[in-house]
């Protein structure tokens, strides 16, 4: 099944980053954001699994280990749909630059490793828009594991795929699980025309490449003038009923 085969025709631009945990993608997108803002661009930023609608539900269910591969996948798709319609499409329509830390490809990699069908999960996300650039930070599994282990005291249960019964040891399980995710990402490079960045290079060198690609994609894009480029932007003010 082909998804994302159509370019969006909104005046804004969408740039996203993908990669396994420890690939350094979040660092790179933060640096990209800093640069764009300093250049006077109006930037909107959205992160995987952060919608208020399902955040509590997901957190709670993960803690109690209540999720099956299918409900895990559907919950994340719900989060994505909510963010797409509140945080991605409206700013794109308003002509802004949207940066997303993880996109549907994360689901295509993780959920398939967890056991859902690749066609099914691709259909699930078929309503998403194709990003202008999808950066994929490619890193050997050992490097990713070393980075995570040196930066964190503990690996989270689901991050390590402990729910899948791959290995009794968290570190070993993490390595197997993330390795399989990495394989899925590699398959997607051609399928979705991902822009591969060698994430073993120095942070600064990687950022240079990212900025060059983004600059090229911004050719002909007209900057939206806002008064405060660096101020956090809210598109939709939710009302609360007490």
């Amino acid at each position: 099944m082909s998804v994302f085969d159509k370019k969006h025709d909104y005046p804004g631009k969408l740039f996203i980053v993908e990669g396994v945990d420890g690939s350094g993608k979040s660092t790179q997108i933060d640096l990209l954001k800093k640069w764009l803002e300093s250049e006077g661009y109006s930037v909107f930023f959205t992160v995987w699994n952060s919608s208020d609608l399902v955040k509590e539900t997901t957190k709670d269910a993960k803690k109690k280990n209540l999720l099956t591969p299918t409900t895990f996948s559907l919950l994340h798709a719900t989060d994505f749909a909510d963010r797409l319609n509140y945080q991605i499409i409206p700013p794109l329509k308003a002509g802004m630059i949207v940066l997303a830390d993880r996109y549907a490809y994360t689901a295509f990699a993780r959920d398939v490793v967890r056991g859902v069908s690749p066609q099914w999960v691709r259909n699930l996300y078929s309503f998403a828009v194709k990003p202008d650039i999808s950066f994929y930070f490619d890193v050997p599994i050992q490097t990713a594991v070393d980075r995570i282990l040196s930066n964190r005291a503990e690996i989270k249960f689901h991050e390590a795929g402990m729910d899948m019964g791959l290995h009794m040891d968290t570190k070993e399980s993490f390595k197997i699980f993330q390795g399989r995710i990495l394989d899925e990402y590699k398959k997607m490079v051609d399928e979705f025309d991902l822009t591969v960045v060698d994430a073993t290079n120095e942070i600064h060198d990687q950022q240079d490449i990212v900025r060059q690609k983004v600059q090229a994609a911004l050719k002909g894009y007209s900057k939206k003038r806002t008064l405060y480029a660096k101020r956090a932007k809210v598109f939709w003010r939710k009302f609360t009923v007490s």
Binding site: D52, E56, T57, A81, D82, V116, F127, K238, F239
Partner: protein, 234 residues
Amino acid sequence: MPNEPKYFGESLPYLKPFQKKGLLIAIEGTDGCGRSTQLALLKNWLEVKGYAVVETGWARSNLMHKSLEMAKSGNMMDRMTFTLLYATDFADRFENLIIPALRSGHIVLIDRYIWTAMVRDVVRQSDPKWIRNMFSFALVPDLSLYMKIDIETLVPRVIEGGGMNYWEAGMDLHMGQDLFDSFVNYQVALISEYDKLAKEFDFETIDARKTVEEIRGDIREKVKALLDKAKPKK
């Protein structure tokens, strides 16, 4: 009686193959057509006959309760998100309740099935292929009862039975100037979609305009036929 389960599309890849010892009976129909009354009567009747019954219904999973309440209270307007929330709710009940109950030989009565999501979505002009693929892992029920009603009968029933609400009136679609017009137009659209699905998916249609007792009798007839058919041959 054990038989091979039948799915609308592919079964979940990680689901271990199983023999279906129980029966799945779904009951569909628009808001206020009398589904829950009839389901309660049916459950009681089956239990008196000695069948173990498990009952479940739309939006009843513990997992999604909080998110669905949040969505319904008005902080969300997007159709796809709604559909995904309901699909998650369905999948949770499907894997954790319906499948285990069928494995162990229960009769599962389910108030609203995947068609509820389909009719609501189609009325809102979304891509029918998307939602059908999403629910392709669901089991085809052994019996799908469709309580068909008309708008003339429905309106007084709803007014007697607690009134119309925002979602039952499809207010997000702005199909009328006021609650009443919107309710009528929305429900007529839903009923017409149900009628289309009835042909495609072999629903057993029950005339829901009749009295509670008459409907109860009609449903028992259909269920009895299913039970007779499912009995092991001697």
